[in-house]
Amino acid sequence: MTIDKHQHVVNISRGIVFNEGDQSLPGEAIETKTVGQVTVDSPVISARHVNVHYGEKQAIKDVSIDVAKNAVIAFIGPSGCGKSTFLRCLNRMNDTIPNAKVSGSIRLDGSDIYDRSQDIVQLRARVGMVFQKPNPFPKSIYENVAYGPKIHGLAGNRADLDEIVQLSLRKAGLWEEVKDRLDNPGTGLSGGQQQRLCIARAIAVDPEVILMDEPCSALDPIATAKVEDLIDELRENYAIVIVTHNMQQAARVSQRTAYFHLGDLIEVGPTEQIFTNPRHRLTEDYITGRFG
């Protein structure tokens, strides 16, 4: 374990005994400057020493972290800290950005998603994504949910497709609200409904992981509460990674929290511990509202 001097001093000055015994905790031993437990027992995604460069600028600096099954992990941190960038590495959405360069390894169920043999279409069917601004296709509600199963050939016939659409809308808690108007445009729904439609669209292809990039930042408090409840329910079947600016939201929906700062992953830990007893000075400053 390498600890930079400043961090060491901070820790000592705060009188916290730095856990030199990280290696003794479960999971593989990895060399990281991150405070806390970055590994889990049976990760669905495990990222190791990930660096992301946008041209000359380094957006992510040597980040290693695991994503656990059937759990929600929240990425928090001030604007521009790289949490969204890192999230988008997990399903290779950064591929569409020119000059973005990703190094290190990100494994999904043990196989490297940046490997040449990894098919990007297949990857995105396994790692779904929900965006900051609700972005349903300007098509009907039905078409929105059916799009993924259609292009991936998941439904053999119309009845199968109907079933997938209904099931996905039910899981997203939207079925009762839209079952009578499946042919109406998805863009005609309210903001919160649109975001749940986007979640239904993402789970229609039955992914293993769902990435959510500030899914509630464009929603009002009631719609936010609904989406948060939904995230909690979805945890039963999926691994969820959520980026959020809202610390209360991170505290409410996640089991683990990771704090990013200027491209570094500063601290990872159980959500309760991060919010009640952060071990790193920067984490504490952010949690207590001193910046960010």
């Binding site: 020119p98 297949q122 779904g128 929900v130 445009p185």
Partner: protein, 432 residues
């Protein structure tokens, strides 16, 4: 306190004073806009009144009734009634004999030439067709409405002033007397000019129509659309969605923008050198015209296509990629349908420009005098703007109204295309 109040007072006054100035400037600014729009409308109104007042008479045509005697001696002296005999008979003689019999007061070569000249030279064809359709007419006589000659037509429509000295007008005193006599006998009629829309070009203005040019324009535009729409859209999609952004694509973009501004005659020369001289395609055909016009419209379609693809929000692309769509599926399922209204508008703007284009077509020989209405891409033809150019050059008075008439047809065609553009745009437009 008072000082501060006084200071406030002056500030308020200054603001009030500046407000007046601002409102005055605001008013002037609006006035400039209104003035600009008014000037534009004035010119449009002037153009339309000028063209319509000159051209509406092209849509009607003068006919005169002639008592035709189908003399058996002139048509079929042997009495065989064979189709070949009837076909080959001299109907000009029949017509002339009928006219002479009816108006014996015309004597002498000049007078007779005037008499014969009052009826358009299509009359003999009309008589031949009537006899062939019904040989029983031979030996009898009937009153036939025949197309009047262009000069007579102009005179009847009031385009030639009868008070001018005889030497200054194309119609003689004798003819005026004759026309007046016919008019009092109700043997002159002005009818709707159907032939203007069904006939091709002609040396005789009264027989000339825009059908040939209209068909030529339609075929040429069809060819241009067939080529430039798919190529233009494919180029726009590739450049906007797939091409890497580097020096080469920048160079391509600059060149496309330059091509959009190249004078159209240059495209005509290119078409002449490439399609006609190098590839050996025939001259004066819609095929080559369409090729040249598609070269000309391609930059417009590519530029507007790229602009409308750019206008599709990136969130739609992200959503599609996030669902695991391949780049092609992203484009075909989501981006292109959303960009389609813009692409179509651009295409129709390009097509409308191509419709009004004459210079490049002059270069590839579409300026020829062609009587037949073209039926295919390789039939020699001309197009509406070139027809207008040809007629505008013709010396006969009767071609003046035809020119304006053809301009009205062209404007109607343009209006139709723009209406289609608006309908398509509204139909495909979707909100997000």
């Amino acid at each position: 306190m008072t000082e501060s109040a006084g200071h406030q007072q002056t500030t308020q006054q200054r603001v009030a004073a500046s407000l007046r100035r601002r409102y005055a400037a605001e008013m002037r600014f609006r006035a400039y806009g209104v003035f600009a729009v008014a000037v534009g409308l004035l010119f449009v109104a002037f153009l339309f009144t000028s063209i319509i007042s000159k051209g509406y008479t092209a849509f009607e045509q003068t006919y005169v009734a002639v008592d035709v005697v189908y003399s058996p001696e002139l048509i079929d002296p042997a009495g065989s009634r064979l189709a070949e005999t009837l076909q080959a008979a001299d109907y000009q003689a029949v017509l002339r004999a009928s006219l002479r019999a009816e108006f014996p007061q015309f004597e002498g070569r000049t007078s007779l030439r005037h008499l014969y000249g009052t009826v358009s030279n299509s009359a003999e064809q009309v008589l031949r067709d009537r006899v062939l359709a019904n040989p029983a007419l031979i030996g009898g006589h009937e009153r036939v409405w025949l197309l009047a000659h262009g000069h007579i037509d102009m005179f009847v429509k009031g385009q030639i002033d009868r008070n001018l000295p005889e030497s200054s007008r194309p119609i003689s005193d004798e003819e005026i007397v004759w026309v007046d006599a016919l008019q009092t006998a109700h043997r002159v009629q002005i009818r709707f000019n159907k032939a203007f829309f069904t006939a091709g070009d002609s040396r005789e203005p009264e027989q000339a129509g825009v059908a040939g040019a209209l068909a030529g324009s339609a075929l040429t535009l069809f060819m241009a659309l067939l080529l430039s729409f798919p190529i233009g859209v494919a180029a726009a999609v590739y450049l906007e969605e797939f091409a890497p952004k580097n020096v080469w694509t920048d160079i391509i973009e600059v060149n496309i923008n330059n091509l959009a501004a190249v004078p159209s005659i240059v495209f005509g020369l290119l078409g002449l050198a490439m399609f006609i001289q190098f590839f050996g395609l025939p001259r004066s055909v819609p095929l080559v015209g369409g090729l040249v016009l598609s070269l000309m419209t391609l930059p417009t379609i590519i530029i507007t296509g790229r602009a409308s693809l750019k206008a599709v929000p990136p969130s739609i692309r992200e959503a599609a990629f996030g669902m695991g769509a391949s780049p092609m599926q992203m484009v075909l399922h989501h981006v292109l349908p959303l960009a389609l209204p813009g692409v179509l508008t651009g295409t129709i703007i390009g097509m409308a420009r191509a419709l009004g284009e004459s210079a490049p077509l002059l270069m590839i020989g579409m300026v020829a005098f062609i009587v037949d209405v073209p039926h295919g891409l390789s039939d020699p033809s001309t197009v509406l703007p070139v027809q207008i150019y040809l007629w505008a050059q013709s010396p006969e008075r009767a071609f003046v109204e035809r020119t304006s008439g053809a301009i009205m047809v062209l404007l109607g065609f343009l209006l139709l295309m723009n209406a289609v553009a608006v309908i398509l745009r509204n139909r495909f437009e979707r909100r997000w």
